[in-house]
Structure formats: C-alpha cells, structure tokens
C-alpha cells in the first residue's frame, strides 16, 4: 500500500487514518479509517460542526499530531513516520500556517514576525529583508513593517499572519479559521488574498472554516461530521 501511495500523483494523501483521544479514561474516537486526497494547487475548504474533527485533521496535515493508524503522505514524503525534528524541518520548508487568532509574537514588529520562518533558512540578512518587504507589499502592508502588530486592526494582523505563512514560499498553506476573528470586510480581504495565492502563485490551500462565504472561495468543500466526510460538493471549474 505504501509504495502505491508514494507513487500516487496526489499532493496530499491520507489513507486509513485512525485517531482516538483519551479523555478522563474514556476513549473518544475522532477518525476511523479516514481517506482523503488533495491535488497540487487545489484550494480545499473543510467545514463541519464543532467536534467533527476539523482541527484534528489540520493538526495531522501540519505534523503537529500523529495518527494512531494509517498513513499521511504530503509531496511524496510520509509525514507520520517522521520524528519531531524531521517534522520541524519539513514544516519549515513545505508548510505555511494561518491561524484564527493570528498568533503573532507581541514583542516583534510586523516585519520581524514575517521574517521568523526565514531565520531557519540559510539566507543572508539583506535578502531576508528584501523578501519580507516584497511579501508585505503583496499582502498590502507596504511601509507598515515597523509597526507593532498589536496596533493593527484584526484584518491587518491576519495579513501579517498570511505574509508570515507564505514568506518562505511553502507549497502547502493550512488555514485554521482565518476569518473567524474578523468583520465581514476584513474577512473578504483575507479571502481575496488566499484566492490570489492559490490562483496566481499555485499554493495548495486547506482551510478549515465555519463560514460558508469563506468556503465559497475554495475550489472544493469537504463536510466533516463525526470524523467522516459526509459529502463532497461543488468543484469549481
């Protein structure tokens, strides 16, 4: 099975995923034999009620948690077999994450927050600065790099978060409720930005959301309920 998955053309393949949490001595199964494939360059929205397993799915895709059973293949690499250090290196090179509450470091300026992932790469400081400026310009925050994120609006902070997620040019972007803390106007700006990153820069995006309007931006929407994809709807042309 592994050899087949390895040679599979899908960018992301989850096969036979099982995941159970232990809560106060009780086993709570989240996934049982879950399968999923996502092609390179797809923009997939994952929706579902609370407790359906959306965040667990995202954590598995990000290598923040491992499955009890099954295999996770991303870009030809088997994630569930990697140790913690290898998963860190994998995230640094292949993954960008956008959080609901931005998760920016408060003691750093916007540009320093964006620069963080680049510190893990052998890039000279001048090139890092150049890259950060370019990305801040891309997300519409040119000239605001020296500002502390705490003094920015929610929408601007989320754009800093997106800039940080894409600054190292990852192939996969995972978004955890990226518009969940924003007003409609700011949410639309962020969604437009994600759409642009998918269409123009070819980023593969998996976005967990409760917001149906957000899901509209995605090319495919998956509905999770009790750890099972209950339908697969609307694949945009």
């Amino acid at each position: 099975m592994s050899a087949n998955l390895e040679t599979n053309k899908s960018f992301i393949t989850l096969h036979g995923i099982g995941k159970t949490f232990q809560t106060s001595g009780t086993s709570v199964p989240i996934f049982e034999n879950l399968d999923l494939t996502i092609q390179k360059g797809e923009f997939v929205a994952v929706m579902g009620p609370s407790g359906s397993g959306k965040s667990t799915l995202l954590n598995l895709l990000a290598g923040l948690d491992g499955p009890d059973t099954g295999e996770i293949w991303i870009a030809g690499q088997r994630l569930d077999h990697m140790g913690e250090a290898a998963r860190s290196a994998w995230r640094a090179h292949h993954l960008g994450i956008v959080f609901q509450f931005y998760n920016l470091l408060p003691m750093l300026t916007a540009e320093e927050n964006v620069e963080l992932p680049l510190l893990l790469k052998p890039i000279p400081a001048s090139m890092r600065r150049e890259r950060v400026e370019k990305i801040l310009d891309l997300v519409g925050l040119a000239g605001r790099g020296r500002q502390n994120p705490a003094r920015m609006s929610g929408g601007q902070q989320q754009r800093v978060g997106i800039a940080r997620a894409i600054v190292s040019d990852p192939t996969l972007l995972l978004c955890d409720e990226p518009t969940g803390d924003l007003d409609r106007a700011s949410a639309d700006e962020v969604l437009t930005m994600l759409g642009y990153l998918n269409r123009e820069l070819g980023k593969t995006i998996v976005m967990v959301t409760h917001d149906p309007e957000a899901a509209e931006v995605a090319g495919r929407t998956l509905h999770l309920d009790k750890g099972v994809f209950i339908e697969r709807e609307r694949v945009m042309a």
């Binding site: 860190s88 640094a92 994450i97 998760n103 893990l120």
Partner: protein, 380 residues
C-alpha cells in the same frame, strides 16, 4: 533580525521583570568582583612584598626586640640591608583620626623599602635634614589634606615622651607615592633616632627589623637562619615576609578566603534560584509562543538553544555591568584594601557567567523543548 535579536527581544519582553533580573545579576557579580579582587590581592596583602622580611618577637609584634640584634642580623649570610623599625600609633586633632608612624633609619629605609614605597634619595635627604621630619604616604596626605612643609602633632596612644607628654610633633619633609596604586601609603615614615631618644620607656628596642635579602636568597631559606640565632635568647624571633606576616595577621580573625567563598557561593545560589524561578514562570506565560515557533518549523533543539541563550543574555548583561562596577570600585576604593582586579578575576567571572547562565536556563529550556505543540496551544 537575527537569532540574537530574537533572543534579546524575548529576554527583554517584560522590561520591568528583565531590569529586576539583570539588577540581581549585577549585584551578585559586583559582590563577586570585589571579593574575588580581594582574594586575588591575597586577602589584602597584594601590595605586600614577598622579598621584604620582618623580624619580630616570637611572642608577637607587641613585644619589643633589642636594637642590639641589628648587627647580628646584618651579619647573617644572605641579608642585604636591615633597618630597625619602631612603631607608634596615635591620633591627629581628633582621637578618632588614627595614624600609624613607622620609624626607621633613613638611609636603611631607602635600601630596604625604597623600591616598594617609591622612595628617592632626595626624599631621604629631606627626611634626614631635621630630627622631627617625616615622609607621609600619598593616601594619608590626601585624606588629611597635608602638604610638604606642614606641621602635625601625633598624640600617641601608648608611647609617652620623657616629659610625660604623648604629643609627638612632626614636619612633613616629602610625600611618597608607593610603587603602584595598590601600595599601602596610609602611614608616616619617621626617624628611629627621634622616637627612640624621645620616648620614656622601651629605649633601644624595636618593634621589628625590616630587612631585604640579597638577590636570589628566598625568605624561606633566610628566615630560619635568623631565627636560629636567637632561638635560646630571652627574646626569640620570628621572621616572616611582609606578605606572610599580613596573611598570618588576617587569619588570626578568620579564614577570610573561606568566609568570602561562602558569601559569594550563597549569593550565587540565591541568584540562581531567583533566575530559574523567574524564567520558569516567564516561559510558562510564553508556552503558547513556543508552540507557534515550533509550528513555524523551529526544531526542539533550536528552542532549547534559544531559551538557554536568553538566560545567557541576562547573565552576560548583568555580569558585564556587575564586573564593570566592581572594576570601577576597585579603582576608587583605598589601595590599603589590596583589591587586585587581575585578568584571572575576569576570566573566572566569564566562566561563571556561562556556567550560571547555562544552569539557570537548563530547566526552562528543557521544559520548552519538550512542550508538545498542541499542549502549548491549549494554554492560550
């Protein structure tokens, strides 16, 4: 931004807490700098000479020796020069303003102590120009505001004059600076003849004989030869180098090095507990951020190094300021304290900074390294 910049910003993210932490490190290293300088100065004997010997009564220096010993000591093989010294302690103007007077033979003083005290022939000539003339050390002259030509009267505590008075008038002939800044110059050099002839009791006795060995002769080989001469006399002697004498004198009170080591050790242990406790709490507040960094791809080992570097940064900053202040204090404090801020003190401080930084950072760093990302995210 660099990793150092990130470390610095993380370490200083709560300015008040960081300042208090740095101040505690500054205080500990300031104490260390001073005490280590004191020990490096052989507990106040740094300025004391190792090739200047004193011959005193074996029962203690309060017991006099006959001046008649002088030619016998001078005749011992290996003795280059010897001067009789008699000491007088008293006060000037105010009884709390205590001064010490060492009286010797001017020409012998130059030969025996000239190099260490920075005496010159012209000073000795000026001293010998009048019976009551004295040389005053720079530290004492500056403290009292005295200058050459001034007259002063020392009211002796014990040494009475033949007329029953305790007042010994002197005229300042010159001021000597000492060989180096750490030389004790807080005393007066007078003439033995003046004191000896003027005192009511103890005539023709000395407090000690100061002698300089011939080149190549060590105090260890010369001292037994001298002491053997008087071993069976009514006034047996004990010969020590100036450094040995001061060390023995100080150790009468306590093992100063041991006391200093305990004090410094206690202050560093306290400091370690404070820093570890503060850093553990600081890191607990930042568990979420550690989770974010790990999510961005910062490996566990990199997180470990970053937290260790934060602790090191605090210790480097505090240690540098503390040792800098200790250095300034060692320059500002009276040379009589014998503080020697040598490279050895600095090297040990650097080693301590790294050792304490690593020890203080180890627990929070290991905790941060082992924190699972999802567990860190749950702390928000």
């Amino acid at each position: 931004m660099t990793f150092f910049g990130l470390t610095r910003k993380s370490a200083l993210r709560k300015p008040l807490r960081s300042i208090l932490l740095v101040i505690s490190v500054v205080a500990a290293f300031f104490i260390y700098g001073l005490t280590a300088s004191f020990i490096a100065g052989s507990q106040g004997t740094a300025a004391a000479s190792d090739d200047l010997l004193g011959v005193m009564h074996s029962a203690g220096r309060s017991q006099p020796l006959p001046v008649a010993y002088l030619p016998r000591i001078a005749a011992v093989p290996g003795v280059a020069e010897v001067s009789p010294i008699t000491r007088l302690r008293g006060s000037v103007r105010d009884e709390r303003n205590v001064v010490a007077v060492s009286a010797g033979q001017p020409d012998k003083l130059l030969a025996v102590s000239g190099r260490d005290l920075g005496l010159s022939q012209s000073m000795i000539d000026a001293l010998g120009a009048g019976r009551d003339r004295v040389l005053v050390g720079r530290a004492l002259a500056e403290a009292q505001g005295w200058k050459v030509g001034d007259r002063l009267t020392v009211s002796a505590f014990r040494t009475k004059r033949r007329d029953g008075s305790r007042d010994w008038p002197f005229e300042i002939a010159a001021i000597f600076d000492g060989k180096s800044a750490s030389t004790d110059t807080y005393f007066i050099l007078a003439q033995y003849r003046y004191i000896n002839e003027g005192r009511a009791r103890g005539k023709d006795t000395v407090s000690t004989f100061a002698l300089r060995p011939e080149p190549g002769v060590t105090p260890e080989e010369l001292a037994p030869r001298i002491d053997a001469l008087f071993a069976n006399s009514a006034a047996p002697t004990r010969t020590l180098s100036e450094k040995q004498f001061l060390s023995a004198f100080l150790s009468q009170y306590a093992d100063i090095k041991h006391v200093v080591t305990l004090v410094v050790g206690a202050s560093f242990v306290t400091l370690l507990l404070i820093v570890i406790n503060t850093m553990v709490f600081a890191l607990r507040e930042r568990r979420f951020e550690v989770g974010v960094l790990k999510t961005l791809g910062f490996s566990p080992s990199r997180i470990l190094l970053m937290v260790l570097a934060e602790a090191l940064f605090i210790f480097l900053l505090g240690g540098t300021i503390g040792m800098g202040l200790a250095r300034l204090a060692s320059l500002a404090l009276p040379p009589a304290l014998g503080l020697v801020f040598d490279p050895g003190v600095m090297l040990r401080a650097v080693a301590l900074v790294f050792l304490l930084g690593l020890v203080a950072g180890a627990l929070p760093a290991l905790t941060a390294m082992r924190t699972p990302i999802l567990s860190a995210f749950r702390t928000r």
